[in-house]
Symmetry: C2
Subunit: 802 residues, 2 copies
């Protein structure tokens, strides 16, 4: 790459402006190198000495100069075309670029007044980078203008598309690293263009930064032919423009011309969409920027090629007391090659003729309010969820499917906010399967590709986003939330693990941004899990994993919430609560199949408000301490617990039983660990200090133990849950396979209460026979025994059943 | 799609053979419909009645006829070209196709003698499908010829490429669903062709099955233009051939001609590679098969379009007592449209002239030993790991980095097995960063794209596979193991969560296949996690998550193992053990940075063999019960614990301290739950029944509580670990932020032992001051205080330190 390979016309941009932009770029590069290396002498006013250099050199140079180049050029088009644009830094460790560029444009100092625009400020800016107590090497929440940290790779395009949904004036310039481009999530995210509405959504301008290397390997996309690369992006439905080379002046001209072309093409497409001239999916432009990794850095050190090689990935040049003395000189020469004296005045302030290149006010990418979405966040209009209550004429009355009921509320949330367009539902083609299809009375799936007359619920302007990629659903939703809107992700419970790592990163973002006063809270990430482990009638073992909640509870208590509503009215109450909340990840686990209903709406509201409670109507310990506590959490465990209670009360009526239902999982944890947690006193009042607790739990049983290990009655808590036994079978048989069925629960009680005596022993034998009978029956008939299918809790609502 | 759109020449295949193949296809379709619907009257010898139909209709029709079509055609080319081929069914729920086709070729009956090739066998074959106690709807481990269940979507191509590595004669015909193709992992897996060696590896023949729909949405790839689709696959580096239409005869001719062309092209490429005519990366062929979803099924039911629509995804036609009576007739007509009387003889056996179309013996895709890889598995040649021991002249002697040391062993494992080519290492471009680079003395990264003179360790025939996609690394390795080879995945600890869901599926596969006597054990999936939470000196908060092991322990105890070797000699011992094991997932968590070494090789072997043990040399309770147990697991926790013990023994010498180190995490669990678990007696002997236990743990502290909640001394176990506090800082400062450092550990002891008295209170205050001093020092200097950096355990190896 000696000469620039320019695939576009050179722009009619004045050579004076090119010179100034080059100086601006040099300033950004200078600041980046300074952040990597210096803790003093930031303007190199005196000869560089070792004591000016940091003790530990940490950071990544490779991606930085290319990103500085892009940022500088984006500033020009923002000014020229009066754009509303934010910047997403996809490659890992782009921190020095974004920090430096937002410092040059002034936003950094506005957000962090201590980092002044002078020599002292430069010294602090340099020192804080990758330093204990300082800032991270990514575009972390600490970085103004960032909605995408990029610590883990792969989600930059999904975040960008999420950001532009329902933001018709916004352009997200998304720099995609060529390493990142090898990840699965990124590879499928290019197809997001089939889901964008050119009239009502904004635009993503991807800039694939082909700098050729990852950590120590070349990248795939940098080592395929130009022809293949072009075909790939044409095949993905984009119009790729190539800017390739390493000679700055030629590259400036090529980049400026290409960006002009891209922005003008975007405008044409947008105008055509507003005029409805054309309903075909547009071919949006994208840019491939091929420039050397570590561009403008040392060419060679100790005989190794650095610029244009993987060796420039991190610190390209070691400088310390134990490195060759000439390294210090190389560093000084390198920094001076940017000619800082032309860039900064005597006090260390960027010279005025350069500073004026930056956009003004909120046009600066570091100051754009979309990148601090909480600033733009408005409450949803939510109809009163009580209006969607299902009638429960008696305990255990047949339901319609809990998610189906909550679908009506969600449908009306969509309706009520249609004008603001600030609420969307995301799912990997499971919204119908998850029985939320009633929402299609109010909206459609957004789809900007051909439609067949036999398709259903597709339109270019729907509020539902469905692609068979959990990564895309999660990434789109995160981008949507981070820019100040609301949403819900519905997903099969087992496959939400696909985004475990994305959840991690978002939870970390929320935790870190909460610590920054200038970052405003955003709407919660709401995840509705259904098609759960207990209802895999036709999917089986591969679809059985309730462990996402185990994963979630490891994250910071201030950020995560987990709800397991036992019926539809509870799900309505929980859904309303989650949609109104801020800055959490709310996980809701609910059933989709018709299942028994237990609580009236008033009861449900009271129960969900407490989060945990004794179900008096199912208990008979009102006048004394119970002999046993039957606890349950989740819809199927609740059903089996109540069926077990029926058996116990019929056969062992002298037993005093307390039934506890848990909606809010964190109630089990101590209040010292989680704000939702119960105090020991309250926990003991519910679970006693010495009586057996038989706990039927929706998920892996050990999660309950993990939450309750330090409770007084810990030793007596016996948990039943999913223990990786399952196949295609009925819901009841699933509970048998995992020993959480009504019969095993009763046996668990008998085994723990010697006072059940010979009656207990006799009942246990009967139940074991029943389990054998069940096994034969279901194998022969492929369905449950009638007594299981027809079991009902025999009481009217509000009846006393003592 | 009325007429076939044939992009290839029609083959010179006899019309007699076409007719027979069509009959074979009809037979497979007939068996598929039978599996979905019938429990009796399998040959329709009497008029179909409701009692012949299953009570619950479960299963998926949509993908099935297309897969039957492909399987039939693959059989022909296997015979014609004498191919060694296996079949990977990527789309979800392809079970009826693979089960039916392996039944027709005879393998199913050989594996399951009860499912005979007669009317009685057909009845059983039909009834067992998606039936309690029967078989699943996927190509599960129960399915002969399957290495890929496809319950979760996205990994078919990665598995296929893993299967062909080092299998130069093998072709994997990989059917990719167009729904599946939207997932991230699948979207990047097309690039696997840049990592294949045409001479020493086999070939993947992808067949993208564009049937147009997912669950209830159209698919992206089915709704882009033909031109875009072609560009996309050209861009991915393939030569796509299109077979498109719905008229069977035309489609047979087109598919046959296309497959001939593809196989011949594959042969040419292979021959050229053997002859080394050409070192350029070849453009392998792939096939795009566009056929209607639910092909040959009902065209319309109750006014809805079924064939060629999403409505054929699952059961396309409801048949029960509550559906319109004509549905039964539609079903009968549908099944009879395949003309079973032409296909099966009076006894229900496939007619001889059709049966002869199937390949013979191990050429049958259901009987190919590569798809039951344990049959081909041979032990690795592993040099004696003791030869790689590091010398530990004194406790706490400086190390070279534990993974660096184990790299020497891995290098020689590669060398020793180079001839057999049955061991590979996989990683997302982190092998060098994880300090395993010494393996490149023995091999290279396999890379079949252009190489630059400044690249390192790239070659077309390396044993290391590196792509920046954890999904690909995991998927390739799984495919490699499932076909009878050995391997190791090295990964940053935090980002292994990217494959949480893949791990789930593999663990489920191992569990289910262990229950099948005919499935032979395969080599363990070995995952080496490093760049751990405690060593994020330059990556920070986003790279901190030790929770993969929490995820792993939820899976079946018989399948999973977790090891946390505290130093290099222990890591060598653990690595050797894992490489020799079968049918587990082994997770090893180890450090890569130079860190103190504790055990001689003999001690390490003894310690790792026990998995947990008292470190006598660090304890002073030899002649009595301890006052406190200091337990640790993981390298950094071990260091902090020993440093804390030094402080305690210096300042509170009268305290009796027992130091326990845990290598094998499952030792903490009860022996009733995990075969590695300690009995209560043994656990109590180690941890006492009443003394405080201060446990410094590598991961989230709650995992230890989850494992020990039901131990006698549970109440006194106090665990320190990672609690989501971190930034870019030193390893020691990370422990301070999470309160697991030596000072906090000592304070934990003092807080729990009133007998420390005023000396304890005084020491505590000193340590709190020290923590404040540390905070100031590190903020000012960016590195740890000298006393922290220079701390050493002061004893010679084998010294008595009582």
């Amino acid at each position: 790459m000696e000469t620039a390979l320019i695939k576009t016309d050179t722009a009619t941009i004045s050579s004076d402006l090119i010179k100034k932009m080059d100086a601006y770029w040099r300033a950004a590069n200078y600041l980046s190198v300074g952040q990597l290396y210096l803790r003093d002498n930031p303007l190199l006013k005196e000869p560089l000495k070792l004591q000016h250099v940091k003790n530990m050199l940490l950071g990544h140079w490779g991606t930085t100069p290319g990103q500085n180049f892009i940022y500088t050029h984006l500033n020009r088009v923002i000014n020229k075309y009066d754009l509303n644009m934010i910047y997403v830094s996809g490659p890992g460790h782009g921190g020095p670029a974004v920090v430096g560029s937002t410092y040059l444009e002034g936003t950094y100092t506005e957000v962090y007044p201590n980092i002044t625009q002078d020599e002292e400020g430069l010294k602090k800016l340099f020192t804080q980078f990758s330093y204990p107590g300082g800032i991270s090497s990514h575009a972390s929440p600490q970085t103004p203008g960032s909605i995408h940290e990029g610590g883990e790779l792969g989600y930059s395009l999904s975040h960008s598309f999420g950001a532009v949904l329902d933001n018709p004036d916004l352009i997200v310039a998304c720099v995609v690293g060529d390493g990142e481009a090898e990840t699965g999530p990124l590879a499928t995210a290019w197809h997001s263009n089939k889901f964008l509405n050119p009239a009502t959504d904004g635009v993503v301008l991807p800039i694939l930064h082909l700098n050729g290397y990852k950590i120590s390997n070349p990248t795939v996309l940098a080592r395929i032919s130009h022809e293949e690369l072009e075909q790939l992006f044409l095949g993905y439905g984009w119009t790729p423009y190539f800017v390739e080379g390493d000679e700055p002046e030629l590259m400036h001209k090529a980049m400026a011309a290409t960006l002009d072309k891209a922005i003008e093409q975007i405008r044409e497409i947008k105008n055509a969409a507003f005029d409805k001239e054309n309903n075909d999916r547009p071919r949006w432009p994208m840019i491939v920027l091929r420039s050397p990794k570590g561009w403008t850095g040392p060419k060679e050190v100790d005989g190794y090629k650095i610029e244009g090689n993987f060796r420039s990935h991190q610190i390209p040049l070691a400088v310390s007391a134990s490195t060759p003395p000439e390294h210090l000189q190389i560093l000084e020469n390198w920094m001076k090659s940017y000619k800082p004296e032309e860039l900064f005045d005597e006090n260390g302030k960027l010279k005025a003729e350069l500073a004026e290149l930056a956009p003004k006010g909120e046009h600066r990418m570091g100051a754009n309010p979309h990148a601090n979405g909480g600033q733009l966040l408005r409450d949803l209009r939510i109809p009163d969820f009580r209006n969607y209550a299902v009638s429960v004429p008696f305990r255990g009355a047949g339901g319609e499917g809990d998610t189906y009921v909550s679908g009506r509320l969600l449908r009306d949330v969509i309706k009520e906010n249609q004008q603001k367009r600030n609420f969307r539902i995301f799912g990997p083609d499971e919204t119908v399967s998850n029985r939320l299809d009633i929402i299609f009375e109010a909206t459609n799936r957004q789809w900007d590709a051909p439609v067949d007359p036999h398709d259903e619920f597709l339109a270019t302007d729907g509020s539902v986003m469905e692609m068979l990629s959990e990564h895309q659903c999660e990434g789109w939703l995160e981008g949507y939330l981070l820019t100040g809107r609301h949403g819900l992700f519905n997903c099969y419970e087992a496959f939400i693990h696909i985004v475990d790592s994305m959840f991690n990163q978002h939870a970390k973002w929320l935790k870190a941004s909460r610590e920054l006063p200038w970052r405003r809270n955003i709407a919660s990430l709401n995840i509705l899990l259904t098609s759960t482990v207990w209802r895999q009638d036709h999917n089986g073992f591969t679809h059985q994993d309730p462990g996402f909640i185990d994963h979630v509870v490891n994250k910071k208590a201030g950020i995560v919430r987990v709800y397991l509503p036992p019926d539809a009215n509870c799900l309505l109450s929980v859904t309303d609560h989650c949609l109104r909340s801020y800055h959490y990840v709310n996980v809701i686990v609910a059933g989709k199949h018709p299942a028994p209903q237990w609580l009236s709406m008033d009861e449900a509201v009271a129960h969900c408000t407490r989060g945990i409670g004794i179900w008096d109507w199912a208990s008979n310990d009102q006048d004394c301490e119970p002999d046993v506590v039957m606890a349950c959490s989740g819809d199927v465990p609740t059903l089996e617990t109540l069926a077990a209670v029926t058996l116990l009360r019929e056969h062992l009526p002298e037993l005093k039983i307390r039934v506890i239902n848990v909606v809010d999982l964190f109630k089990l944890e101590k209040n010292t660990e989680h704000t939702h947690g119960l105090s020991d006193k309250d926990f003991d009042a519910l679970f006693t200090t010495s009586k057996p607790v038989i706990f039927a739990f929706h998920g892996y049983p050990w999660l309950v133990h993990r939450l309750t290990y330090n409770r007084t009655n810990n030793k007596n808590i016996h948990v039943r849950g999913y223990k990786e036994e399952g196949t295609i079978t009925t819901s009841f048989d699933m509970t048998v396979l995992n020993e959480m069925d009504r019969f095993h629960l009763v046996i668990d009680v008998i085994d723990r209460l010697p006072e059940c005596g010979s009656k207990g022993i006799y009942l246990k034998q009967q139940l074991l026979d029943k389990l054998t009978e069940h096994k034969h029956y279901i194998n022969a008939n492929g369905k449950d025994m009638p007594e299981i299918l027809n079991w009902k809790w025999e009481s009217k609502l509000n009846d006393e059943t003592k």
